[in-house]
């Protein structure tokens, strides 16, 4: 499987699907109460699993604190580690990442293990099956904290039970335009789900990209949660398509103009901030989905979503850039990627 941000993805409304399982090791205090030595032992134990046998060629294992600040931020921008993982910690914290960047395991974040699978597009079942496979594979070697009544035990009670957070990232420009996101939030929160912006909290979303995920982890089976999430995503995507169609039919010239102008700026700008890019990319994505823009590879937008972020830009440039230089470099990079075929 390819990572969610490669140019070989389909583009379109569904950007990525993520499953995260929170697990703790039996008879060890959670990271908040852990000493350095035990934390180190836990990381080493998990590294051993992924450094032996055939699978060692498929994974990289390393200590997070050995990375530079920029390398850490690169992983965060790729959604391979969480924002919390970036904050300072005295504990040795480990990361296991598959070579294709679809699997990542954070060691000693809030819980001992955060097993994560991210796939491009809308693939809840596939991502869940792989996450559970990894979960069982690790559990064959390491016993977990599991309670007969409460299920998998976690540091925060909001994860207790299944320890699962399933989320789908999707692009919703028309629902945003129609002001419907808050309505979606209030109706899905009754079912134990939530919608939030890509990097931001609340419903403020950069580039009209949102994440829909489950809040409840107790009293429902994983399958029920996934089925409900899947139904919600299907409903949201149907209404997004309906509204887009209505808007397009109402004023197709305005619509085309907006998409083509956005593409024109991205293909010609010499200075481009990260937030300007993400906003214009939303219009271009819309244009591709509607067949208005034809000669752009739709996957390129998913790729640029990550590669235009500050830490990734710095990594590509291979040198330190001031904020102004970064905007110039970003513009050049985007111009090249979105060249007319």
């Amino acid at each position: 499987m390819k990572s969610w941000y490669t140019s070989e993805t389909d583009g379109g409304m569904f950007i990525s699907t993520r499953i995260r399982l929170a697990r703790n090791i039996k008879n060890k205090p959670f990271p908040s109460h852990l000493d350095k030595k035990t934390a180190q032992e836990i990381a080493a134990m998990v590294f051993d699993i992924f450094n032996s046998g055939k699978i060692k060629h498929d994974f990289d294992t390393f200590y997070f604190n050995d990375l530079s600040e920029n390398e850490k931020a690169v992983l965060f921008e790729k959604h391979l580690v969480s924002a919390d993982f970036l904050s300072k910690s005295d504990l040795p914290r480990g990361v296991v990442i598959s070579k294709d960047e679809t699997i990542s395991i954070m060691i000693n974040e809030e819980d001992h293990l955060r097993i994560q699978v991210i796939y491009p597009g809308f693939k809840l079942k596939e991502a869940y099956d792989l996450a559970r496979k990894l979960d069982t594979f690790i559990n064959e070697k390491i016993p977990y904290e599991y309670h007969e009544k409460f299920g998998y035990l976690t540091h925060c009670p909001t994860n207790t039970g299944s320890g699962m957070r399933a989320s789908v990232m999707l692009h919703l420009p028309s629902l945003t335009y129609a002001g419907s996101i808050d309505n979606i939030l209030s109706s899905i929160s009754k079912l134990g789900f939530t919608i939030r912006g890509l990097y931001g909290e609340g419903t403020k979303a950069e580039g009209n990209i949102y994440q829909v995920s489950n809040q409840i982890t107790l009293g429902k089976t994983d399958e029920e949660i996934l089925r409900n999430l899947s139904d919600i995503i299907n409903k949201i995507s149907t209404s997004e398509k309906d509204i887009t169609k209505q808007l397009y039919q109402k004023n197709d010239a305005m619509f085309k103009d907006r998409c083509m102008r956005a593409l024109g700026i991205l293909q010609n700008a010499y200075v481009l901030s990260s937030s300007e890019f993400i906003q214009l990319a939303s219009d271009v994505r819309n244009g591709i989905d509607l067949g208005i823009i034809k000669d752009i590879d739709p996957g390129a937008l998913n790729e640029l979503l990550v590669l235009t972020r500050p830490a990734n830009i710095k990594k590509i440039a291979k040198r330190n850039l001031s904020a102004d230089e970064r905007d110039i470099f970003r513009a050049q990079f985007v111009r090249e990627r979105l060249k007319q075929k």
Partner: protein
Amino acid sequence: MLCEKCGKNPANFHYEQNINGEITVYNLCTKCAVESGLYYKTDFNFSSFFQNFFKPDLFIKETLNPQKSCPFCHMTASQFLNLGKFGCGRCYDTFFDEVSSLLKRIHGSDTHVGAFPKEQEKHIMVKRKIDKLKEELNEAILKENYELAAKLRDEIKELQNNE
């Protein structure tokens, strides 16, 4: 644009007054807006309001002895109440009653029905079956269907003996 009153800070407060069609526009900074009485600054902050929402202390403080502590990670009841998070797996049993009510408030349930570690599969399947039969048994008794109740009771006994 700078504040029309002090001329120092950026004007981030825009106010339009319409009195009998006579419109006056004010462009002020927050400080001057507060001083002019046009804007009331409150300390109420939604995000911090909800931050404490899932802390258990709001509801169960009275019932829990603050001296009680977890024998494994030594988290005390007052720490648990303050943080709303656990120090280790044993905390869940140490503060069992409080945990139950906390989980019910968050998830609407305090009982896990989902995935489990493979090595416990057999045990958990039997336990879940027994729980389900017990529910049916209670229902049967309520409906005074004693014949069914007796049958369910025997089934439960047999499963429990085999465990």
